[in-house]
Symmetry: C2
Subunit: 166 residues, 2 copies
DNA sequence: GCTAGAAATGTGATATTATAACCTTTCATA
DNA sequence: TATGAAAGGTTATAATATCACATTTCTAGC
């Protein structure tokens, strides 16, 4: 994985969005499911933001876009997207983000969450894997999954503390 | 911090419990608050278990012990205990554990959570700190806090998969 | 095309986790 | 023993997540 980076406020975001949806199609083909209208809609709302959104945020946005969806439907769509790896869950926020890159399944992902703007960057930092493996080995722990999240200020917010959103 | 370890099913748990409550007294003196009856009761329920308990689990246990407490009261007690460092929150479970050791404040804590028995071990694995620092630096991220949690099977459960609780 | 089974979604209710607003009690200290 | 701050009580409600069951949509096989 590349160096972790926070998207610049003025990056070509339309590209992010369409890349995300294109990747979704092939991910579902490979995984053996279907990118349904609902799932695509949910993914679109997440991909349209680099911020972590709660399930009910997604519902509101879909509603604003003219589509009323029940919580359970959104959760089911999110579950499916999570399984396929198109979406990540940010545990410390009870929120979700669209994944903007492919991952090496064997490596845990470190999420960097900006407290000011809510933007999330992903990192595959080398060395992390080894340290975690050591910890597991020392404790005789059979590792299944990891949750790695850092909170703080992204480079775009650090300079102008006190603001909300880019 | 010592090597991360899962407490053996037959360890001297009474010692854990009284150590935890003794430490609580001095922690509050140092931090400038008071270990009130309510806070001690909440801590006692958590310390009586090495498992992560939800706030409502704590309420039930207190209730079973003859003490009815409202959710908000337990959450307030938990907030206080968290501030003083006597309790940790496990984000991936929306649950809490009593801390069974003192921590170097400058280092993040890695929690190892057993999926079978719910027991949680703490690790201060060397190398983790450096890897996290690198990730933050690479992303120009101003680090505030970290959440590090691993799930899997503890050494006591790995051998007898399918069981619940020790 | 038609149809049985599987997968996905809809519907309505409800469970679980957490906090708001406001009032009363407890406690340190002067 | 008055006083203010900290802690806790009471009631209501917000925010997050899931259950149970009906309906619709899709896929295969005929
Ligand atoms: Zn973008
Ligand atoms: Zn930011
Ligand atoms: Zn113990
Ligand atoms: Zn276990």
């Amino acid at each position: 994985m590349a160096k972790p980076r926070f998207p610049a406020p003025d990056h070509d975001h339309q590209a992010c969005l369409s890349a995300s949806l294109e990747r979704a199609e092939s991910a579902y083909v490979e995984a053996g499911g279907r990118l349904t209208e609902l799932r695509a809609s949910v993914l679109r709302e997440l991909a349209a933001s680099h911020q972590a959104l709660g399930a009910y945020d997604v519902i509101q946005r879909l509603s604003a876009a003219g589509r009323r969806v029940a919580p359970i439907s959104v959760y089911r769509a999110l579950d499916s997207l999570l399984e396929v790896g198109l979406v990540h869950r940010i545990e410390s926020r009870n929120a979700f983000i669209a994944c903007h890159e492919a991952h090496d399944e064997s490596r845990p992902i470190l999420f960097l969450v900006c407290d000011a703007c809510g933007t999330v960057a992903e990192s595959g930092e080398e060395g992390l894997n080894e340290a975690l493996g050591n910890a597991a080995r020392n404790a005789k722990f059979t590792l299944d999954d990891t949750v790695l999240e850092m909170t703080g200020l992204c480079e775009h917010c650090a300079g102008r503390e006190g603001t909300r959103g880019h």
